[in-house]
């Protein structure tokens, strides 16, 4: 049954690839007859290089917006090429961008062939529209002239053409997805998000094209410099952000690893929290905040003497105080770090109970329900604590931990989050904790008799360095809207 579906997909993919390759080839063929290639050749080469560069390297402006200036390069090039060669020039530029280094490395054939068809077609349609509009703007005598009075109109036309490019592009992509994978994607909701960046980029592209026509080639190095430095700055910003996350995560992991009993705890809690957050429909920013909070939630514990954490017997009053102090250590340590402040607030409340009891951080109000993120963290933290081996007892089973979570739902834990977690973890098929049923008394007795086998703790699934993957376009064969 499943196998049938796969062979059907393969057949459909081949058909679609052939159709799109033929579509692209015939569009280019027709254009070669009706238009001439841009002159001089180096002008086309410069724009094609810039276009391919930006197709391969999208700039992440923020979590929601991947701006790719390639649509802007296309509009600038179209205006600069002039009426005789705008459509052919840009369509051939688009054809240059279909093979990415990853495609070549992994010998993919499907994505490049459909991209060839859809990029060439969308470029031809949108630049055809731009040429039509520019002829109207310039008047019949000299259709491609630029003057002070027409610059704004040209830019507007380019903005419109960019949106059309996006619409054609997305329609073709969603057509492919529907045919090959069935179901499909909501192309229009994507487009609504992209309208503003597309109009903006297209508008700017039109302006820069007009600049080229008015000033001449001397404007090209200036434009290139501004964009290249901007791109470099965004790259170093993104790199530094990445470095910051992985430094914090790696550091905490290394510190934690000094203690066999807590090894991997933070990463698993971050993994579980992320799971719950995704299930509850958190957006990228919220998820990121939750992950950070999970990563730092036990930093304070690193500052608690090991004897107290490891103690097999019941803690004395002062030891208990010290243990709870780790919530404050988090605040002492990390409240100086500006961007972590909201996460520190969440982390410091992870021992606060749903009904307002429990141990609140200095930001939490005793007697009040902690924030949603803190409640998620509490469930994830308790679950991992129960399903891993501690100094005073061996790991409990997953079922036992679920039952415990449910028992305290409504008092210690938020019932909705407990149910969400049980549901999503069960659906994932992952299994944590002891493989056999074991009572808590039995678990404690075994630990006393030296059965606290550390190697039996839960398996690791979470890798913070790849956690950004969920926001990146997937590397699967699924064709994605390029230039998004």
């Amino acid at each position: 049954m499943f196998q049938d579906e796969l062979t059907r997909q393969e057949r459909e993919k081949k058909r679609i690839a052939v159709i799109f390759a033929a579509l692209g080839a015939s569009v280019l063929g027709v254009l070669f007859f009706v238009q001439s290639f841009p002159q001089p050749f180096w002008l086309w080469a410069v724009f094609a290089l810039a276009f391919v560069f930006f197709e391969w390297n999208a700039v992440e402006v923020n979590e929601k917006l991947f701006a790719s200036p390639s649509i802007m390069v296309m509009m600038t090039a179209a205006v600069a090429f002039g009426p005789e060669s705008a459509v052919l020039g840009t369509a051939t530029m688009a054809a240059m961008a279909i093979l990415t280094p990853a495609d070549v490395r992994e010998r993919r054939w499907f994505q490049p062939s459909v991209n060839f068809g859809q990029l060439v077609t969308s470029a031809a349609v949108s630049i055809g529209l731009l040429a039509f509009l520019m002829a109207r703007i310039g008047g019949s005598v000299d259709p491609w002239t630029v003057s002070t009075s027409t610059v704004g109109l040209i830019a507007l036309a380019a903005g419109l053409a960019a949106v059309v490019d996006g619409i054609v592009n997305l329609s073709l992509v969603s057509f492919i997805v529907r045919r090959v994978y069935g179901g499909g994607m909501n192309a229009w909701s994507h487009m609504v998000q992209l309208v503003v960046p597309y109009v903006g980029m297209g508008f700017l592209g039109g302006l820069l094209g007009a600049t080229y026509l008015l000033v001449g080639p001397a404007s090209l190095p200036l434009i290139a410099i501004v964009f290249f430095t901007g791109y470099m700055a965004f790259e170093s910003y993104a790199g530094l952000r990445e470095a910051q996350l992985s430094t914090l995560a790696g550091f905490i992991k290394a510190l934690e690893a000094k203690d066999l009993y807590t090894r991997g705890h933070t990463e698993r809690v971050a993994y579980f929290s992320n799971m719950i957050g995704q299930h509850l429909g958190f957006n990228g920013t919220q998820l990121e905040r939750l992950r950070w909070a999970a990563l730092i939630h036990d930093v304070g514990k690193l500052a608690v003497p090991r004897e107290v954490i490891r103690k097999k017997s019941r803690l004395t009053e002062s030891e208990y105080e010290e243990m709870q102090g780790h919530v404050h250590h988090v605040e002492d340590l990390l409240s100086e770090v500006e961007f972590l402040r909201p996460m520190v607030e969440i982390a410091s409340n992870h021992h606060a109970h749903f009904d307002g009891n429990g141990y609140h951080g200095s930001s939490g109000d005793s007697g009040h329900t902690p924030s949603l993120e803190a409640r998620i963290l509490a469930v994830a933290d308790s679950f991992d604590a129960m399903t891993s081996t501690r100094s005073y007892r061996v790991a409990l089973s997953q079922e036992y931990a679920f039952a415990e979570l449910r028992r305290f739902a409504g008092t210690q834990f938020d019932p909705e989050i407990v149910e969400a977690f049980v549901e999503v973890l069960t659906a994932s098929g992952e299994q944590y904790g002891s493989p056999v049923e074991i009572s808590e008394d039995e678990a404690r007795r075994r630990a006393e008799h030296g059965f606290g086998d550390i190697s039996n703790t839960a398996r690791m699934k979470y890798d913070p360095s790849t956690q950004r993957a969920d926001r990146r376009p997937s590397e699967s064969e699924e064709p994605e809207a390029r230039r998004g």
Partner: protein, 412 residues
């Protein structure tokens, strides 16, 4: 002392600017055939434009904030028709900027040093541009647009060099930093600078051809970079904060003396800057110094304390922890070598010990002597001197002495 001297210099420069404005106005009015008003309106317009744009600043990699005023000055140099107009406009704008910065110095975060640096820079640029442009256009070798681009490129390069020199000079006046360090620091800013110059040139070239749209052509593309530079800067600040916070874990746990890592880092950075290390090296040194005792978190384990440990163990454990964080491999190796002596019997100087590690060793030992042993600054310095045989590099010891003298902790 130095602050007073910079202030005096600024006031002298400010008076010079006023005299310059009057002189240029006189010369301009002598040449013009039209009315006084006709000549003076463009001067006022450009002076206002440059002043307003000067208030906007962008954080550069060196840590200082660059004023965008030079971008407006580039546009003015392209668009004004005679030397006197440009000269008068720039003199007036700089003088006005000085007044604005004086009154808003806290909000704008600009100092007398910045005023001097930007002033000298802008004046140099304007003169150089006029000379180069004149020379190029007399020969008619290039078309007009390229003449402008080449003129701006040459004058801009000169501006960059002069500005870096002045920034180094001003920095020397201000503190105990090595000129080499400041010069390298100013050179770090080239990407921001190139971007501002290109935007100004674009405006100058497009304004006569497309009017107000020139504003969009110049500002929109630049705005992307501006945003990125701002973000980069704020991320760098919080990255430093993160490392500072993580470095304090052993201290909060009571396993290392409180405040030791911060004090060691401050002193180590001061020594490195005094010795003229490359700015990038100084940043790494700062991180390494902050985290040099992070291996002490291992002492949380009673069994390890019972078994005994050495400084080398602390260094190794620390470097192992730091090595877990990607991008900090080099910092990790600096921490790993912080305990190593700078030479061994029969070897004059061990070339394998990085200078940053040697600096951390000295700074940490000095702070231990000051706080853990409670010695006076001069006694602590003497302990470093006593270690010249193998432990502490004498070059770093004498740099430490100069830093302490500058800070007024010891008199010499």
């Amino acid at each position: 002392m130095a602050e007073v001297r910079l202030r005096t210099l600024s006031i002298v420069a400010w008076i010079g600017l006023l005299i310059g404005a009057v002189a240029f106005t006189a010369s301009g009015l002598g040449q013009t055939n039209g009315s006084v008003l006709d000549w003076f309106v463009p001067v006022l317009v450009w002076a206002t434009a440059i002043t307003v744009v000067s208030i906007i600043t962008v954080p550069a990699p060196s840590g200082s904030r660059l004023s965008l005023g030079i971008g407006a000055a580039v546009a003015a140099s392209i668009l004004t028709t005679d030397h006197a107009t440009l000269g008068a406009a720039i003199c007036l704008a700089l003088a006005a900027t000085g007044v604005v910065e004086r009154n808003l110095s806290t909000t704008l975060n600009r100092t007398d040093g910045d005023f001097l640096t930007d002033g000298v820079g802008m004046a140099t640029y304007a003169m150089a541009y006029l000379v180069v442009y004149q020379a190029l256009s007399e020969r008619h070798t290039l078309d007009p647009s390229w003449t402008v681009v080449v003129g701006v490129a040459v004058a801009g390069t000169l501006w960059f060099v002069v500005r870096a020199l002045v920034a180094a000079f001003v920095g020397l006046e201000r503190s105990d930093l090595a000129g080499r360090y400041l010069w390298l620091l100013a050179l770090e800013d080239w990407a921001v600078v190139v971007s501002i110059f290109a935007a100004g040139t674009l405006f100058g070239l497009t304004w006569p051809l497309m009017g107000a749209w020139a504003l969009a052509v110049a500002i929109l593309p630049y705005a992307f970079g501006h945003l990125a530079f701002e973000r980069y800067h704020s991320t760098r600040v919080t990255y430093g904060q993160t490392i500072r916070a993580l470095a304090q874990i052993p201290e909060v746990a009571g396993l290392a003396p409180s405040g030791h890592s911060t004090r060691t880092a401050d002193l180590a950075v001061a020594i490195a800057q005094e010795m003229g290390l490359h700015p990038n090296q100084v940043v790494e040194l700062e991180y390494a110094a902050l985290m040099h005792d992070v291996g002490r978190i291992t002492l949380n384990e009673p069994a390890i304390v019972k078994a005994g440990y050495t400084d080398e163990d602390i260094a190794r454990w620390g470097s192992q922890i730091i090595a877990e964080a990607p991008y900090l491999e080099h910092v990790s190796s600096l921490v790993a070598q912080q305990h190593r002596p700078y030479r061994s019997p029969g070897v004059e100087m061990d070339p394998d010990v990085p200078i940053a590690s040697k600096i951390i060793k000295v700074a940490s030992a000095y702070d231990d002597a000051r706080t853990a042993m409670g010695l006076s600054p001069i006694e602590s310095l003497e302990r470093i001197h006593q270690g010249y045989a193998y432990e502490y590099d004498p070059h770093i010891g004498s740099s430490l002495r100069r830093v302490l003298v500058f800070r007024g902790e010891i008199t010499f």
